[in-house]
Symmetry: C2
Subunit: 265 residues, 2 copies
DNA sequence: GAGTGGTCTAGACCACTCG
DNA sequence: GAGTGGTCTAGACCACTCG
Protein backbone atom coordinates (compact mmCIF):
# COMPACT_ATOMS: atom_id res chain seq x y z
CA UNK A 1 0.00 0.00 0.00
CA UNK A 2 3.01 2.31 -0.33
CA UNK A 3 2.74 4.91 -3.03
CA UNK A 4 -0.99 4.44 -2.59
CA UNK A 5 -1.58 7.95 -3.86
CA UNK A 6 -0.48 6.95 -7.32
CA UNK A 7 -3.37 4.55 -7.63
CA UNK A 8 -6.19 7.04 -7.07
CA UNK A 9 -9.31 6.48 -9.16
CA UNK A 10 -10.50 9.10 -11.60
CA UNK A 11 -14.18 9.47 -10.88
CA UNK A 12 -16.25 11.09 -8.14
CA UNK A 13 -15.51 13.88 -5.71
CA UNK A 14 -13.05 11.97 -3.60
CA UNK A 15 -11.10 10.88 -6.63
CA UNK A 16 -10.90 14.47 -7.78
CA UNK A 17 -9.56 15.62 -4.46
CA UNK A 18 -7.07 12.79 -4.54
CA UNK A 19 -5.90 13.85 -7.98
CA UNK A 20 -5.42 17.41 -6.82
CA UNK A 21 -3.44 16.32 -3.83
CA UNK A 22 -1.33 14.06 -5.96
CA UNK A 23 -0.49 16.89 -8.30
CA UNK A 24 0.54 19.05 -5.40
CA UNK A 25 2.75 16.22 -4.21
CA UNK A 26 4.61 15.75 -7.45
CA UNK A 27 5.32 19.45 -7.62
CA UNK A 28 6.37 20.18 -4.09
CA UNK A 29 7.35 16.82 -2.61
CA UNK A 30 5.30 17.61 0.45
CA UNK A 31 4.24 14.75 2.61
CA UNK A 32 0.74 13.38 2.63
CA UNK A 33 -0.14 14.61 6.12
CA UNK A 34 1.10 18.06 5.15
CA UNK A 35 -1.05 18.12 2.05
CA UNK A 36 -4.10 16.99 4.01
CA UNK A 37 -3.44 19.70 6.56
CA UNK A 38 -3.07 22.38 3.91
CA UNK A 39 -6.22 21.20 2.19
CA UNK A 40 -8.30 21.38 5.37
CA UNK A 41 -6.77 24.71 6.30
CA UNK A 42 -7.74 26.03 2.90
CA UNK A 43 -11.34 24.92 3.39
CA UNK A 44 -11.45 26.71 6.73
CA UNK A 45 -9.88 29.93 5.44
CA UNK A 46 -12.22 29.90 2.44
CA UNK A 47 -15.13 29.63 4.87
CA UNK A 48 -16.19 26.40 3.21
CA UNK A 49 -15.97 24.97 6.73
CA UNK A 50 -17.02 27.95 8.86
CA UNK A 51 -16.44 28.39 12.61
CA UNK A 52 -18.49 25.91 14.58
CA UNK A 53 -18.67 23.49 11.67
CA UNK A 54 -18.18 19.87 12.56
CA UNK A 55 -15.73 18.42 10.11
CA UNK A 56 -15.78 14.77 9.01
CA UNK A 57 -14.56 12.20 11.50
CA UNK A 58 -11.19 10.54 11.09
CA UNK A 59 -12.71 7.43 9.50
CA UNK A 60 -14.33 9.55 6.77
CA UNK A 61 -11.18 11.55 6.16
CA UNK A 62 -9.22 8.30 5.91
CA UNK A 63 -11.51 7.29 3.08
CA UNK A 64 -11.45 10.69 1.41
CA UNK A 65 -7.68 10.96 1.45
CA UNK A 66 -7.07 7.21 1.10
CA UNK A 67 -4.70 6.93 4.00
CA UNK A 68 -4.30 5.49 7.46
CA UNK A 69 -5.78 6.99 10.58
CA UNK A 70 -2.39 8.02 11.94
CA UNK A 71 -1.80 10.19 8.91
CA UNK A 72 -5.14 11.95 9.20
CA UNK A 73 -4.52 12.29 12.91
CA UNK A 74 -1.16 13.93 12.33
CA UNK A 75 -2.73 16.50 10.01
CA UNK A 76 -5.57 17.24 12.42
CA UNK A 77 -3.27 17.45 15.44
CA UNK A 78 -1.28 20.10 13.62
CA UNK A 79 -4.43 22.08 12.97
CA UNK A 80 -5.39 21.83 16.64
CA UNK A 81 -1.96 23.11 17.67
CA UNK A 82 -2.39 25.87 15.13
CA UNK A 83 -5.68 26.88 16.73
CA UNK A 84 -7.89 26.07 13.77
CA UNK A 85 -9.66 23.06 15.20
CA UNK A 86 -11.03 21.90 18.49
CA UNK A 87 -11.44 18.20 19.12
CA UNK A 88 -13.69 16.57 21.67
CA UNK A 89 -14.12 12.89 22.16
CA UNK A 90 -17.46 11.53 21.09
CA UNK A 91 -18.53 15.01 19.94
CA UNK A 92 -16.14 15.37 17.02
CA UNK A 93 -13.80 17.93 15.49
CA UNK A 94 -14.96 21.52 15.12
CA UNK A 95 -13.69 24.65 13.43
CA UNK A 96 -12.77 27.14 16.14
CA UNK A 97 -14.38 30.57 16.47
CA UNK A 98 -11.47 33.00 16.29
CA UNK A 99 -11.26 35.41 19.20
CA UNK A 100 -9.03 38.41 19.13
CA UNK A 101 -5.74 38.45 17.34
CA UNK A 102 -2.54 36.71 18.12
CA UNK A 103 0.65 37.40 16.31
CA UNK A 104 4.21 36.30 16.23
CA UNK A 105 6.44 39.19 17.14
CA UNK A 106 10.11 39.45 16.35
CA UNK A 107 11.91 41.26 19.14
CA UNK A 108 14.91 42.68 17.39
CA UNK A 109 18.43 42.60 18.60
CA UNK A 110 19.29 46.31 18.78
CA UNK A 111 22.58 45.93 16.99
CA UNK A 112 20.95 44.02 14.19
CA UNK A 113 18.09 46.52 13.93
CA UNK A 114 20.54 49.39 13.61
CA UNK A 115 22.66 47.68 11.00
CA UNK A 116 19.56 46.77 9.01
CA UNK A 117 18.55 50.41 8.98
CA UNK A 118 21.77 51.07 7.08
CA UNK A 119 23.64 53.03 9.73
CA UNK A 120 26.80 52.05 11.58
CA UNK A 121 26.14 50.70 15.06
CA UNK A 122 27.83 52.07 18.11
CA UNK A 123 27.47 51.11 21.74
CA UNK A 124 28.34 53.16 24.79
CA UNK A 125 28.05 52.16 28.40
CA UNK A 126 26.89 55.04 30.59
CA UNK A 127 27.12 53.54 34.02
CA UNK A 128 27.51 50.42 36.04
CA UNK A 129 26.75 49.60 39.62
CA UNK A 130 26.24 46.68 41.91
CA UNK A 131 23.55 46.90 44.54
CA UNK A 132 21.13 44.79 46.51
CA UNK A 133 17.76 44.33 44.93
CA UNK A 134 15.04 46.54 46.31
CA UNK A 135 11.43 45.48 46.82
CA UNK A 136 10.63 47.13 43.50
CA UNK A 137 13.35 45.11 41.78
CA UNK A 138 12.06 41.88 43.28
CA UNK A 139 8.57 42.77 42.14
CA UNK A 140 9.35 43.40 38.50
CA UNK A 141 11.99 40.69 38.28
CA UNK A 142 9.71 38.26 40.09
CA UNK A 143 12.50 37.26 42.42
CA UNK A 144 11.50 35.17 45.38
CA UNK A 145 14.57 36.05 47.43
CA UNK A 146 16.76 39.10 47.70
CA UNK A 147 19.77 39.08 45.42
CA UNK A 148 22.66 41.32 44.50
CA UNK A 149 22.10 42.95 41.13
CA UNK A 150 24.35 44.37 38.50
CA UNK A 151 22.85 47.42 36.85
CA UNK A 152 24.14 48.62 33.49
CA UNK A 153 22.91 51.71 31.64
CA UNK A 154 23.86 52.14 28.02
CA UNK A 155 23.19 53.92 24.77
CA UNK A 156 22.96 52.46 21.30
CA UNK A 157 23.63 54.66 18.30
CA UNK A 158 22.64 54.46 14.67
CA UNK A 159 25.27 56.65 13.10
CA UNK A 160 25.29 59.88 15.10
CA UNK A 161 21.68 59.52 16.26
CA UNK A 162 20.72 57.83 19.47
CA UNK A 163 18.75 54.73 18.63
CA UNK A 164 17.97 53.45 22.08
CA UNK A 165 18.66 53.92 25.77
CA UNK A 166 18.79 50.80 27.86
CA UNK A 167 18.86 50.19 31.57
CA UNK A 168 19.31 46.64 32.65
CA UNK A 169 19.51 44.65 35.85
CA UNK A 170 21.28 41.33 35.91
CA UNK A 171 20.63 38.96 38.78
CA UNK A 172 24.06 38.07 40.16
CA UNK A 173 22.69 35.03 41.94
CA UNK A 174 21.63 33.55 38.60
CA UNK A 175 24.65 34.86 36.66
CA UNK A 176 27.54 35.53 39.05
CA UNK A 177 30.01 35.57 36.13
CA UNK A 178 28.40 38.81 34.92
CA UNK A 179 30.24 40.66 37.69
CA UNK A 180 33.55 39.97 35.92
CA UNK A 181 32.51 41.14 32.46
CA UNK A 182 33.66 44.41 30.98
CA UNK A 183 30.40 45.88 29.73
CA UNK A 184 32.11 48.95 28.34
CA UNK A 185 33.16 46.69 25.47
CA UNK A 186 30.37 44.15 25.20
CA UNK A 187 26.68 45.09 25.38
CA UNK A 188 24.99 43.10 28.12
CA UNK A 189 22.45 41.65 25.70
CA UNK A 190 25.21 40.19 23.54
CA UNK A 191 27.04 38.69 26.47
CA UNK A 192 23.85 37.29 27.94
CA UNK A 193 22.72 35.76 24.67
CA UNK A 194 25.92 33.80 24.28
CA UNK A 195 26.24 33.07 27.97
CA UNK A 196 22.70 32.01 28.79
CA UNK A 197 21.64 30.70 25.45
CA UNK A 198 18.29 29.10 26.21
CA UNK A 199 15.90 31.26 28.09
CA UNK A 200 12.33 32.46 28.20
CA UNK A 201 11.26 36.05 27.90
CA UNK A 202 8.23 38.19 28.56
CA UNK A 203 7.78 41.60 26.98
CA UNK A 204 5.69 44.65 27.62
CA UNK A 205 5.44 47.31 24.97
CA UNK A 206 4.05 50.79 25.30
CA UNK A 207 4.52 54.34 24.19
CA UNK A 208 5.74 56.94 26.64
CA UNK A 209 6.69 60.57 26.68
CA UNK A 210 10.34 60.69 27.68
CA UNK A 211 11.14 62.05 31.10
CA UNK A 212 13.80 64.69 31.38
CA UNK A 213 16.69 62.51 32.51
CA UNK A 214 16.23 59.84 29.85
CA UNK A 215 15.58 62.41 27.16
CA UNK A 216 18.78 64.16 28.13
CA UNK A 217 20.83 61.01 27.81
CA UNK A 218 19.31 60.30 24.41
CA UNK A 219 19.82 63.85 23.16
CA UNK A 220 16.08 64.35 22.74
CA UNK A 221 13.64 66.84 24.16
CA UNK A 222 11.68 65.98 27.28
CA UNK A 223 8.23 64.74 26.31
CA UNK A 224 9.42 63.21 23.04
CA UNK A 225 7.53 60.09 22.04
CA UNK A 226 9.31 56.83 22.66
CA UNK A 227 8.57 53.17 22.26
CA UNK A 228 9.34 51.52 25.56
CA UNK A 229 10.13 47.86 25.75
CA UNK A 230 10.35 46.05 29.07
CA UNK A 231 11.74 42.54 29.02
CA UNK A 232 12.15 39.98 31.71
CA UNK A 233 14.28 36.98 30.85
CA UNK A 234 14.41 33.79 32.82
CA UNK A 235 15.53 30.18 32.60
CA UNK A 236 15.20 27.06 34.71
CA UNK A 237 16.67 28.65 37.80
CA UNK A 238 14.66 31.87 37.78
CA UNK A 239 14.96 35.42 36.46
CA UNK A 240 18.25 36.26 34.83
CA UNK A 241 17.78 39.82 33.71
CA UNK A 242 15.31 42.63 33.38
CA UNK A 243 15.75 45.37 30.80
CA UNK A 244 13.98 48.58 29.90
CA UNK A 245 14.71 49.94 26.46
CA UNK A 246 13.60 53.30 25.09
CA UNK A 247 13.54 53.76 21.35
CA UNK A 248 13.28 57.16 19.73
CA UNK A 249 9.95 57.57 17.93
CA UNK A 250 9.99 56.14 14.42
CA UNK A 251 13.44 54.66 14.92
CA UNK A 252 11.98 51.23 15.56
CA UNK A 253 8.95 49.49 14.15
CA UNK A 254 7.98 46.11 15.45
CA UNK A 255 6.50 43.68 12.99
CA UNK A 256 4.09 41.04 14.12
CA UNK A 257 2.59 38.60 11.73
CA UNK A 258 -0.30 36.26 11.99
CA UNK A 259 0.34 33.41 14.33
CA UNK A 260 -1.40 30.12 13.91
CA UNK A 261 -0.25 28.88 17.25
CA UNK A 262 -2.43 29.79 20.20
CA UNK A 263 -5.14 31.38 18.16
CA UNK A 264 -7.96 29.89 20.18
CA UNK A 265 -8.92 30.65 23.77
CA UNK B 1 3.58 -4.04 25.38
CA UNK B 2 0.81 -1.68 26.48
CA UNK B 3 1.30 -0.05 29.85
CA UNK B 4 4.94 -0.87 29.28
CA UNK B 5 5.95 2.00 31.52
CA UNK B 6 4.60 0.17 34.52
CA UNK B 7 7.14 -2.57 34.07
CA UNK B 8 10.26 -0.41 34.26
CA UNK B 9 13.18 -1.90 36.10
CA UNK B 10 14.60 -0.23 39.18
CA UNK B 11 18.32 -0.12 38.54
CA UNK B 12 20.57 1.96 36.34
CA UNK B 13 20.23 5.41 34.88
CA UNK B 14 17.63 4.53 32.32
CA UNK B 15 15.48 2.85 34.89
CA UNK B 16 15.72 5.91 37.08
CA UNK B 17 14.62 8.15 34.28
CA UNK B 18 11.77 5.75 33.55
CA UNK B 19 10.67 5.91 37.15
CA UNK B 20 10.67 9.68 37.09
CA UNK B 21 8.65 9.76 33.93
CA UNK B 22 6.24 7.24 35.33
CA UNK B 23 5.70 9.34 38.43
CA UNK B 24 5.00 12.36 36.30
CA UNK B 25 2.51 10.29 34.36
CA UNK B 26 0.53 9.10 37.34
CA UNK B 27 0.26 12.64 38.62
CA UNK B 28 -0.64 14.48 35.48
CA UNK B 29 -1.95 11.85 33.09
CA UNK B 30 0.24 13.26 30.38
CA UNK B 31 1.03 11.09 27.43
CA UNK B 32 4.34 9.38 26.95
CA UNK B 33 5.41 11.48 23.98
CA UNK B 34 4.58 14.61 25.95
CA UNK B 35 6.66 13.48 28.90
CA UNK B 36 9.59 12.65 26.63
CA UNK B 37 9.29 16.05 25.04
CA UNK B 38 9.20 17.84 28.37
CA UNK B 39 12.15 15.84 29.59
CA UNK B 40 14.29 16.72 26.58
CA UNK B 41 13.18 20.34 26.73
CA UNK B 42 14.24 20.45 30.36
CA UNK B 43 17.68 19.12 29.49
CA UNK B 44 18.05 21.82 26.85
CA UNK B 45 16.85 24.64 29.08
CA UNK B 46 19.11 23.43 31.88
CA UNK B 47 22.01 23.58 29.42
CA UNK B 48 22.67 19.89 30.02
CA UNK B 49 22.34 19.65 26.24
CA UNK B 50 23.77 23.00 25.09
CA UNK B 51 23.32 24.61 21.67
CA UNK B 52 25.10 22.64 18.99
CA UNK B 53 24.94 19.44 21.02
CA UNK B 54 24.06 16.33 19.10
CA UNK B 55 21.41 14.50 21.04
CA UNK B 56 21.04 10.71 20.98
CA UNK B 57 19.57 9.17 17.85
CA UNK B 58 16.03 7.85 17.81
CA UNK B 59 17.14 4.27 18.37
CA UNK B 60 18.94 5.25 21.57
CA UNK B 61 16.03 7.33 22.82
CA UNK B 62 13.70 4.39 22.11
CA UNK B 63 15.81 2.33 24.47
CA UNK B 64 16.12 5.04 27.08
CA UNK B 65 12.41 5.74 27.20
CA UNK B 66 11.36 2.17 26.40
CA UNK B 67 9.02 3.05 23.60
CA UNK B 68 8.54 2.78 19.86
CA UNK B 69 10.24 4.96 17.31
CA UNK B 70 7.01 6.76 16.40
CA UNK B 71 6.62 7.96 19.96
CA UNK B 72 10.15 9.33 20.15
CA UNK B 73 9.65 10.85 16.72
CA UNK B 74 6.48 12.62 17.82
CA UNK B 75 8.28 14.16 20.78
CA UNK B 76 11.24 15.26 18.66
CA UNK B 77 9.03 16.65 15.89
CA UNK B 78 7.32 18.83 18.46
CA UNK B 79 10.67 20.14 19.61
CA UNK B 80 11.66 20.89 16.03
CA UNK B 81 8.43 22.81 15.48
CA UNK B 82 9.11 24.62 18.74
CA UNK B 83 12.51 25.68 17.46
CA UNK B 84 14.57 23.75 20.00
CA UNK B 85 16.01 21.15 17.69
CA UNK B 86 17.29 20.87 14.18
CA UNK B 87 17.29 17.51 12.47
CA UNK B 88 19.39 16.47 9.50
CA UNK B 89 19.40 13.08 7.91
CA UNK B 90 22.53 11.09 8.47
CA UNK B 91 23.98 13.91 10.58
CA UNK B 92 21.60 13.66 13.52
CA UNK B 93 19.54 15.89 15.79
CA UNK B 94 21.10 19.03 17.22
CA UNK B 95 20.16 21.63 19.79
CA UNK B 96 19.58 24.93 18.00
CA UNK B 97 21.58 28.07 18.69
CA UNK B 98 18.95 30.64 19.65
CA UNK B 99 19.02 33.83 17.62
CA UNK B 100 17.07 36.88 18.60
CA UNK B 101 13.77 36.76 20.38
CA UNK B 102 10.40 35.73 19.18
CA UNK B 103 7.29 36.24 21.18
CA UNK B 104 3.62 35.59 20.98
CA UNK B 105 1.77 38.86 21.04
CA UNK B 106 -1.87 39.29 21.93
CA UNK B 107 -3.37 42.06 19.85
CA UNK B 108 -6.22 43.25 22.01
CA UNK B 109 -9.71 43.95 20.90
CA UNK B 110 -10.11 47.63 21.85
CA UNK B 111 -13.47 47.11 23.51
CA UNK B 112 -12.10 44.26 25.57
CA UNK B 113 -8.98 46.20 26.51
CA UNK B 114 -11.08 49.13 27.75
CA UNK B 115 -13.43 46.96 29.77
CA UNK B 116 -10.50 45.14 31.31
CA UNK B 117 -9.06 48.45 32.41
CA UNK B 118 -12.22 48.88 34.51
CA UNK B 119 -13.80 51.76 32.58
CA UNK B 120 -17.01 51.77 30.59
CA UNK B 121 -16.47 51.47 26.87
CA UNK B 122 -17.94 53.88 24.40
CA UNK B 123 -17.63 54.02 20.65
CA UNK B 124 -18.21 56.98 18.37
CA UNK B 125 -17.98 57.09 14.62
CA UNK B 126 -16.45 60.33 13.38
CA UNK B 127 -16.81 59.98 9.65
CA UNK B 128 -17.52 57.67 6.80
CA UNK B 129 -16.81 57.89 3.13
CA UNK B 130 -16.60 55.77 0.05
CA UNK B 131 -13.88 56.43 -2.43
CA UNK B 132 -11.69 54.79 -5.01
CA UNK B 133 -8.41 53.47 -3.70
CA UNK B 134 -5.44 55.68 -4.42
CA UNK B 135 -1.98 54.43 -5.29
CA UNK B 136 -1.04 54.89 -1.64
CA UNK B 137 -4.00 52.76 -0.56
CA UNK B 138 -3.06 50.02 -2.99
CA UNK B 139 0.48 50.11 -1.70
CA UNK B 140 -0.28 49.70 1.98
CA UNK B 141 -3.22 47.36 1.42
CA UNK B 142 -1.20 45.34 -1.08
CA UNK B 143 -4.06 45.41 -3.56
CA UNK B 144 -3.25 44.22 -7.04
CA UNK B 145 -6.17 46.04 -8.66
CA UNK B 146 -7.99 49.27 -7.95
CA UNK B 147 -11.03 48.88 -5.72
CA UNK B 148 -13.67 51.06 -4.09
CA UNK B 149 -12.94 51.53 -0.40
CA UNK B 150 -15.06 52.34 2.58
CA UNK B 151 -13.24 54.55 5.04
CA UNK B 152 -14.43 54.82 8.62
CA UNK B 153 -12.88 57.04 11.29
CA UNK B 154 -13.83 56.46 14.90
CA UNK B 155 -12.99 57.10 18.52
CA UNK B 156 -12.98 54.64 21.38
CA UNK B 157 -13.44 55.89 24.92
CA UNK B 158 -12.55 54.49 28.30
CA UNK B 159 -14.94 56.40 30.52
CA UNK B 160 -14.54 60.05 29.56
CA UNK B 161 -10.98 59.64 28.30
CA UNK B 162 -10.17 58.89 24.70
CA UNK B 163 -8.58 55.48 24.52
CA UNK B 164 -7.91 55.22 20.83
CA UNK B 165 -8.48 56.85 17.48
CA UNK B 166 -8.95 54.55 14.54
CA UNK B 167 -9.03 55.10 10.82
CA UNK B 168 -9.88 52.12 8.73
CA UNK B 169 -10.27 51.24 5.09
CA UNK B 170 -12.40 48.31 4.06
CA UNK B 171 -11.99 46.87 0.59
CA UNK B 172 -15.48 46.83 -0.91
CA UNK B 173 -14.46 44.33 -3.56
CA UNK B 174 -13.62 41.82 -0.84
CA UNK B 175 -16.49 42.81 1.48
CA UNK B 176 -19.26 44.49 -0.54
CA UNK B 177 -21.73 43.94 2.32
CA UNK B 178 -19.79 46.45 4.40
CA UNK B 179 -21.35 49.25 2.35
CA UNK B 180 -24.74 48.46 3.90
CA UNK B 181 -23.63 48.39 7.53
CA UNK B 182 -24.41 51.19 9.94
CA UNK B 183 -21.03 51.82 11.52
CA UNK B 184 -22.39 54.50 13.81
CA UNK B 185 -23.74 51.64 15.89
CA UNK B 186 -21.27 48.81 15.32
CA UNK B 187 -17.51 49.32 15.36
CA UNK B 188 -16.01 48.06 12.09
CA UNK B 189 -13.69 45.66 13.94
CA UNK B 190 -16.63 43.96 15.62
CA UNK B 191 -18.58 43.63 12.40
CA UNK B 192 -15.56 42.37 10.51
CA UNK B 193 -14.65 39.81 13.16
CA UNK B 194 -18.07 38.22 13.00
CA UNK B 195 -18.41 38.66 9.27
CA UNK B 196 -15.00 37.47 8.12
CA UNK B 197 -14.13 35.09 10.88
CA UNK B 198 -10.97 33.44 9.60
CA UNK B 199 -8.33 35.80 8.40
CA UNK B 200 -4.66 36.55 8.56
CA UNK B 201 -3.19 39.74 9.90
CA UNK B 202 0.10 41.62 9.85
CA UNK B 203 0.91 44.30 12.39
CA UNK B 204 3.35 47.14 12.67
CA UNK B 205 3.86 48.82 15.99
CA UNK B 206 5.65 52.04 16.70
CA UNK B 207 5.58 55.12 18.84
CA UNK B 208 4.74 58.47 17.30
CA UNK B 209 4.21 62.01 18.38
CA UNK B 210 0.61 62.88 17.52
CA UNK B 211 0.03 65.28 14.70
CA UNK B 212 -2.29 68.18 15.26
CA UNK B 213 -5.41 66.80 13.60
CA UNK B 214 -5.30 63.41 15.31
CA UNK B 215 -4.41 64.96 18.65
CA UNK B 216 -7.37 67.29 18.33
CA UNK B 217 -9.76 64.44 17.71
CA UNK B 218 -8.40 62.58 20.71
CA UNK B 219 -8.49 65.61 22.97
CA UNK B 220 -4.74 65.51 23.45
CA UNK B 221 -1.99 68.00 22.80
CA UNK B 222 -0.10 67.91 19.53
CA UNK B 223 3.16 66.04 20.00
CA UNK B 224 1.76 63.75 22.68
CA UNK B 225 3.25 60.27 22.67
CA UNK B 226 1.10 57.59 21.14
CA UNK B 227 1.39 53.92 20.39
CA UNK B 228 0.49 53.45 16.76
CA UNK B 229 -0.73 50.12 15.49
CA UNK B 230 -1.11 49.44 11.79
CA UNK B 231 -2.89 46.28 10.83
CA UNK B 232 -3.55 44.71 7.47
CA UNK B 233 -6.04 41.86 7.44
CA UNK B 234 -6.50 39.45 4.58
CA UNK B 235 -8.01 36.10 3.73
CA UNK B 236 -7.99 33.73 0.76
CA UNK B 237 -9.25 36.36 -1.68
CA UNK B 238 -6.91 39.16 -0.72
CA UNK B 239 -6.80 42.15 1.63
CA UNK B 240 -10.00 42.83 3.51
CA UNK B 241 -9.14 45.82 5.63
CA UNK B 242 -6.36 48.09 6.75
CA UNK B 243 -6.52 49.96 10.04
CA UNK B 244 -4.40 52.52 11.84
CA UNK B 245 -5.02 52.85 15.54
CA UNK B 246 -3.54 55.47 17.83
CA UNK B 247 -3.49 54.78 21.54
CA UNK B 248 -2.85 57.45 24.09
CA UNK B 249 0.48 56.90 25.87
CA UNK B 250 0.20 54.50 28.78
CA UNK B 251 -3.39 53.64 27.92
CA UNK B 252 -2.33 50.42 26.25
CA UNK B 253 0.44 47.99 27.02
CA UNK B 254 1.03 45.07 24.75
CA UNK B 255 2.16 41.85 26.33
CA UNK B 256 4.25 39.41 24.42
CA UNK B 257 5.43 36.19 25.93
CA UNK B 258 8.02 33.70 24.93
CA UNK B 259 7.12 31.80 21.83
CA UNK B 260 8.49 28.37 21.20
CA UNK B 261 7.32 28.35 17.64
CA UNK B 262 9.65 29.84 15.08
CA UNK B 263 12.50 30.45 17.46
CA UNK B 264 15.16 29.32 15.08
CA UNK B 265 16.26 30.99 11.86
C1' DG C 1 -23.81 2.29 25.68
C1' DA C 2 -21.47 3.78 21.89
C1' DG C 3 -19.08 7.17 19.01
C1' DT C 4 -15.01 9.68 18.67
C1' DG C 5 -10.54 10.99 19.44
C1' DG C 6 -5.71 9.94 21.98
C1' DT C 7 -2.10 7.27 21.96
C1' DC C 8 1.07 3.61 21.13
C1' DT C 9 3.26 -0.30 18.62
C1' DA C 10 6.18 -2.95 15.28
C1' DG C 11 7.42 -2.82 11.12
C1' DA C 12 8.32 -0.99 6.57
C1' DC C 13 10.29 1.71 2.65
C1' DC C 14 12.44 5.58 1.44
C1' DA C 15 15.31 10.08 0.93
C1' DC C 16 18.79 12.54 2.22
C1' DT C 17 23.51 13.52 3.17
C1' DC C 18 27.77 12.62 5.40
C1' DG C 19 32.11 10.85 4.68
C1' DG D 1 27.83 2.97 1.22
C1' DA D 2 25.63 3.52 5.32
C1' DG D 3 23.61 6.14 9.12
C1' DT D 4 19.86 8.90 10.26
C1' DG D 5 15.59 10.89 10.00
C1' DG D 6 10.71 11.22 7.38
C1' DT D 7 6.82 9.12 6.65
C1' DC D 8 3.23 5.78 6.40
C1' DT D 9 0.56 1.58 7.64
C1' DA D 10 -2.70 -1.60 10.07
C1' DG D 11 -3.98 -2.60 14.10
C1' DA D 12 -4.74 -2.14 19.00
C1' DC D 13 -6.48 -0.52 23.58
C1' DC D 14 -8.22 3.02 25.93
C1' DA D 15 -10.54 7.45 27.83
C1' DC D 16 -13.68 10.57 27.41
C1' DT D 17 -18.21 12.34 26.87
C1' DC D 18 -22.51 12.68 24.57
C1' DG D 19 -27.05 11.32 24.80
Amino acid sequence: MYLHYVSFGTYGFEATRGQLLFKAQTNEKTSLHQRIRTDIERRILANEWPPGFRIPIEQELMQEYRCSRMTVNKALSGLVAAGFLDRRKKAGTFVVYPSGHHASLVIPDIRKAVLESGFPYQYRMLGRSERDGTAEDRERMKLTASSPLLEVASLHYAGTNCFAYEIRQICLTASPEAAQIDFTRVPPSVWLLTHVPWSNAEHHIDAVALEEDVAGKMGLLPGAASLKLRRRTWAEKGTITYAEQYFAARSLTLHASFLLQARNG
